[in-house]
Symmetry: D2
Subunit: 219 residues, 4 copies
């Protein structure tokens, strides 16, 4: 019997999702909404503020990347349309903005300032990531990413950025988020820039799934 | 038999550490160094650069907070003394610095610049947090915290800060890290400031444990 | 005659304001509004967004410091009450904010986002400085200062912070702006914190006067 | 006589440099090193830290822009080669760096940390600007610019960035500094990116000249 138990444990360690598909009772233990025998899905919310459509297009790239991760439910919304339930349900949130004088647009900040204070959403341990669009190589789009990360950390989230490696696999690194240059020098959102958005989405979904798998295990 | 399996699964979900203590073979599956039937411990490294001892004292506060979390192994080291094995073994890393003109001291940055590039440490998904000391209310100690977080995100870590709530439990929030004002206005590191250090340590250890419990379960 | 001219030149170099009081024609050259024989005054605008009154009190400190500099006209206004003429007339602008999740309050950012885009104010070479209030030692009040400075640089201003020196006059340094900790650890705005506000105001007024004295001299 | 004096004053106001070329005594009043009857030149120091040559090339762009401004002496040096006299003589300093994990390279920071503390250089009111190179759209090169600006503000400098306007002259704005993307997506330093460097240099030289013209006039 001991050997049997060990065998099952290995199974648990190696493939809990498989286990859940065998045994609905275990899934039910996690308090998931009734999804039959399906594994619990990680939910990723992509919320953005777009002026001319560039940030919207970039948001779609983030969503696309998140969808690459199995068992991920992705919602993409204008930040003005996000409701309390979206935030509560999300395991990961990607926030994106156009760059207004090197900062988060006031209209967007006004919306998100309410999420904790007025709506009383508890963001503890949700995964956060940020993206932005803006003109100019040094026009503030990276500072917007940092500002959004700071907003999320100050809302108790854990934050991360996309992962990179060079062609030779010799160097590996991360970035603070994803952004696209949309000014006169480099108009629109290019395919290559969308790759960064996709990597961000993929990273957030992966982390969300990982943290979700851990959550029930700790008091 | 199915019921039995479910019973074990519930056990796994609710208390994997207990399971490991029953069955050493399962623990071995995780590739842990031989700790007998003990649960895998989360390792927290607190690495700091101190000029006058304030940052060192603050680092001890971070370590103290991390030790509050069960099953946590905490190492505190001057950043110059950190070796590759410390970094590789760490599930969470807290980096702390004195403030040099609103930035990370050059001597410290020189050391940590090598960790990925020369030492080839892979920091992916390690938990990161930051602390600092500095004179003045706006003298750069918070910017040092942000700079250290940026360093860690760009090294593929996930970063977070300490969690707070007001006395009434009505408001909850986080901060980007922990810092102590050590200039003429407010010399030394006070007990109240150390509380922030402890909260940071506790937060990082909790997240490290959480992510560690999830790690073996995903491909 | 050469000696005479030299004498006048020395006068010009040493004390242009005195010269103007002798000779209104010279003042008129500067295109100043008719202030008789008075020297052109540097105008400092202190604009703030306050939630509970702390930032308002801090703004008064900035204004007090600016008034220490001779020939300075200081205006203090809630950011919502600032009109286009205030901005155009100002030689220096101090922007201050309460800290909302480590960022500029959305309501304030919405107001100032319009200043350049909609109101078409030209901020080129105006002197900028920033201040903030917020709870917590690492709760984002310094990041708000940096964010406000970034806003101003991206609006073509030149920015600076208050100047400090230690008691022995051995060390001298600056800070990015001024801020007060107003959370549970250290409620309200203390006298010592107001000193930082005053130093910021004094610094901005001094720079405004300096740049104003230079402006008419260059093509 | 009064008319005469006014005439001279107008001359002073409109073209002080011309005046100095007429009257060396006036120039001597400014305590300039003996440059005969020449106007006092504004000195711009471009100091950089380059790894692969990209930042060096970008530094040359900054210098080129600064030289566009009449009466400007430009010095370009590796940051390791800068001596105390370079810093003391400079009216403006442009600092540039390659991006090391979203921060100033440690080797560079170690050098510049000493400038005030050990070398006791007084940077008060010198004009500062920043530039950087780095791979990736969100890889930290803008955060390096912000970090360098923070370093300079905390060294008592006034900082500014390049000025922009759109083709129609309808929108005007500034940026925090200049940077070039040098990673795989966009290797090397392009002509268009160099334009940003040139604008930064031009801006710093213009401000340096402006502040220099004002300096002797205030107590």
């Amino acid at each position: 019997m001991k050997r049997n138990r060990a065998g099952i444990c290995v199974l648990v360690l190696a493939a809990p999702l498989l286990l859940f598909s065998i045994d609905p009772a275990a899934a039910a233990e996690q308090g998931q909404p009734g999804e039959g025998s399906a594994p619990p899905k990680a939910r990723v919310l992509v919320a953005y503020y777009s002026r001319h459509g560039n940030t919207e297009r970039f948001a779609e790239g983030v969503a696309e990347g998140a969808r690459r991760v199995p068992d991920t439910l992705v919602t993409v919304k204008r930040v003005e349309d996000v409701v309390k339930e979206d935030l509560q349900a999300a395991d990961a949130i990607a926030l994106g903005a156009a760059t207004y004088f090197a900062g988060i647009p006031g209209t967007m900040k006004t919306v998100i300032d309410d999420w904790n204070w007025k709506w009383k959403v508890d963001f503890t341990d949700k995964v956060g990531g940020a993206f932005s669009t803006g003109g100019g190589q040094t026009g503030g789009k990276e500072f917007v990413v940092v500002s959004l990360l700071m907003f999320m950390i100050n809302n108790r989230m854990v934050v991360a950025g996309p992962l990179y490696q060079d062609a030779e696999g010799e160097d590996i690194w991360g970035e603070a988020g994803a952004s696209a240059m949309t000014g006169p020098l480099d108009p629109g959102v290019s395919e290559k820039e969308l790759d960064a958005a996709r990597l961000l989405g993929e990273r957030l979904a992966t982390l969300a799934r990982k943290l979700r798998s851990a959550q029930p295990r700790l008091p």
